[in-house]
């Protein structure tokens, strides 16, 4: 028993000394649990997505339409945009014609138009219009669901008014008043209440539909919930502004996200090879030749870019073969984005090598950061599913901008000029990371 205890103690002593194993065993899973938990609403009072930009153009003068806008503004999942800032900084209400170019510019991905004929005498229910850039299909489905929920929950009187308008077309005003009076009398007789008040409610479209909309589905019921009934009363015209011709939107998103995650892993591991070359004396030998430190670092940087380019293109080709991701339609631009992403990922790997003191430390820090960046940056699920503070953090990750770049090329078919802001950010990340890395390399003793 004493021997077993001694050996047991040895294992724990080794574990305690092995920071890499500790990080991988405890820190990494904790980070994943935290991020995934946030996405699924754990530990948050307000679960679900938040702050998704939604442009709203209200062309109707119906007071209930304004009530719908107010309800959307109150919905924490949305950040409602109703105004347009002119180049001269003056502000005016958004119009429908503003929406398409703004969606293409990625100012927002979803827009709701409440048309003048939101209520029509010729059609039962509401008429709304949604313009979208559904590059992220999960987010898109969620936004549609949230819009329907908001409409049903907050503006059932619009639906009631629609019924009244339709009835008025068929019956005419006098007969509709008579009809409403009969209904009110029958309701009062059956359930009690003031027939005059009930009639006034009916005429205003207040049928108590909010209770129907809010009624939960019975367990095991296949359909027929209140929501299902109401959904038939809302006619939504949808217009996909961006990515109409993309055959496989899901694959386009997934391949890009996972490709950049694995590229980060590969390049981080490759940069850890710095340490083995240092420890083996290869650096000494190379630097004793007519080779400068700068040449050594640049060769490593260019290797990273070329390796990254090959890996990303191989994964996109796999996506093309397996799921029909359109790689060849925008090959030139895809190549440029891949090169910029590879440069950013390489600089990240070199920065890790410069900041750490051993290959084990570099590997464990890389795992922690790559997984965190992938989770926060949108490789696994839409960024909008995370709390707003995490959405801000996402913008500091390579993964976020890589996915943005891939989406811009493969989903939106952006031109080189349209991609410049994203490429600029990726190259800025590269420049900052490389500057710090080179500064650290020159100060550290990795070359000694």
């Amino acid at each position: 028993m004493r021997i077993i205890l001694t050996l047991l103690g040895k294992d724990f002593a080794n574990l305690r000394r092995n920071r890499s194993a500790l990080v991988l065993s405890f820190m990494v899973p904790m980070v994943i649990i935290y991020v995934v938990g946030l996405v699924f609403g754990l530990g948050r009072s307000d679960s679900g997505p938040s702050g998704i930009p939604l442009a709203v153009v209200n062309q109707s003068d119906n007071p209930a339409a304004q009530k719908l806008v107010a309800a959307l503004q109150a919905e924490k999942s949305f950040h409602v945009i109703t105004e347009f800032v002119n180049p001269d900084r003056t502000i005016r209400p958004l119009t429908e014609t503003d929406l398409r170019p703004l969606i293409r510019d990625r100012r927002f991905s979803y827009a709701l138009v409440i048309p003048p004929d939101v209520l029509s005498e010729t059609q039962l229910g509401l008429h709304l219009k949604i313009l979208s850039d559904p590059r992220n299909d999960i987010e898109s489905q969620t936004v549609n669901g949230l819009l329907q929920k908001t409409i049903f929950t907050h503006v059932p009187d619009l639906l009631g008014q629609s019924l009244q308008a339709r009835a008025k077309k068929f019956l005419g005003n006098p007969k509709l008043s008579e009809f409403n009076g009969s209904i009110a009398t029958a309701v009062a007789k059956a359930f009690g209440g003031d027939p005059a008040k009930i009639k006034a409610d009916i005429e205003q479209g207040n049928f108590g539909l909010e209770e129907l909309a809010a009624s939960p589905a019975k367990p095991g019921a296949a359909s027929s919930t209140g929501g299902d009934i109401l959904s038939k009363l809302v006619k939504i015209d949808t217009e996909q502004v961006v990515g109409k011709d993309v055959k496989s939107p899901t694959a386009t998103r997934i391949v890009g996200g996972y490709a950049v995650m694995f590229l980060l892993f590969a390049l981080s591991n490759s940069s850890a090879a710095f340490f083995s070359e240092k420890n083996s004396g290869v650096f000494q030998r190379v630097l004793s030749a007519p080779v400068s430190r700068a040449q050594l670092l640049w060769s490593r940087f260019f290797y990273g870019i070329l390796f990254g380019l090959i890996q990303l293109l191989a994964l996109f080709f796999a996506g093309h073969l397996l799921y029909g991701v359109d790689v060849f339609g925008h090959f030139g631009n895809l190549l440029v984005v891949c090169a910029c992403v590879a440069a950013a990922c390489t600089s990240f790997g070199m920065l890790l090598s410069a900041l750490t003191r051993s290959p084990e430390a570099a590997a464990s820090l890389a795992t922690l950061l790559v997984i965190t960046m992938s989770a926060c940056g949108g490789a696994w699920f839409p960024v909008s599913f995370m709390p707003e503070f995490m959405q801000h953090i996402a913008r500091f990750t390579i993964v976020y901008w890589a996915i943005d770049g891939f989406g811009g090329v493969l989903w939106a078919g952006n031109s080189f000029g349209q991609m410049l802001p994203t490429l600029g950010i990726l190259l800025s990340i590269t420049a900052v990371a490389m500057t710090i890395a080179v500064w650290r390399f020159n100060r550290s003793r990795i070359f000694d």
Binding site: N279, S280, G281, V282, Q284, R285, V286, L287, S288, A289, P290, V291, S292, F447, D448
Partner: protein, 305 residues
Amino acid sequence: MLTLDHITKRYGSLTALDDVSLNIAPGEFFGLLGPNGAGKSTLMSLIASLRAPDAGGITLDGIALSTADAAGRLTLGLVPQHIALYLELNPEQNLGIFGQLYGLRGADLRARIDEALDAVQLNDRRRDQVKTFSGGMQRRLNLAAALLHRPKLLLCDEPTVGVDPQSRNAIFEYLERLNREGLTIIYSTHYMEEATRLCSRIGIIDHGKILALGTLDELLTQLPFEEEIRFSANAATATLAPALAVQGELTTHDGIHRFRPRAGAKLSEFYSLTESRGLPARLFTSQRPTLEALFLHLTGRTIRE
């Protein structure tokens, strides 16, 4: 050929080299002998221009060496302490890479790779991964990689660490041949026997200072005795010790007395003394003093401490 002029190198508060001056003549096989941490590798790295000294300068054939001057390194070859090779690659690929770093190309490079692999007897393993080689084979290839560009000055930083005796001997023979052919070699080691066998001149270094410099004979004359007499420390010889202390220096280590007569003392006096005490001559062995004795004399400790 190589001149080190008052070189000082510090790492924070640690002075790794303290005002070291040295001249190496062409064709010399110079040994740098000292324990681990003495400053040997730092000195090697300064000569190889891997680091810059904090004070002093280094010139090779009258031209100053510096970390910024890559061209100056063309005449240098470095055999690092570790196996500085790409273990996943084969010898041909390794030598090809290092040769290209020195500007070798095409047929010239291929010819030199053949020549180098022949010289270190690895031609038959030229396409095997280096990681499959024995330690001795890797060491030989490590040496070959430093010679591909035919340097004028070869820096060997403890090149035989962890090598079996057979491979060590092969390396020695190769280095001796290269030196006979005119190559200047600086060889750092903490093995006395390596320095004794190989080097025409030796510098003893400790705590960043060159303590002694010269040929083996010149160094040994710095000792205050010319030979050392050893005998077992036992009851029979116990009475001898106090009497010998008057005639010279007596130290005892691991049950062995080491007696070093004062300079000018006559051995006949020693043997008269032992004879008078009934101790036969066979109990005593006399030998020429070694570098180890010199190191002990200079530093007050053995080289392995």
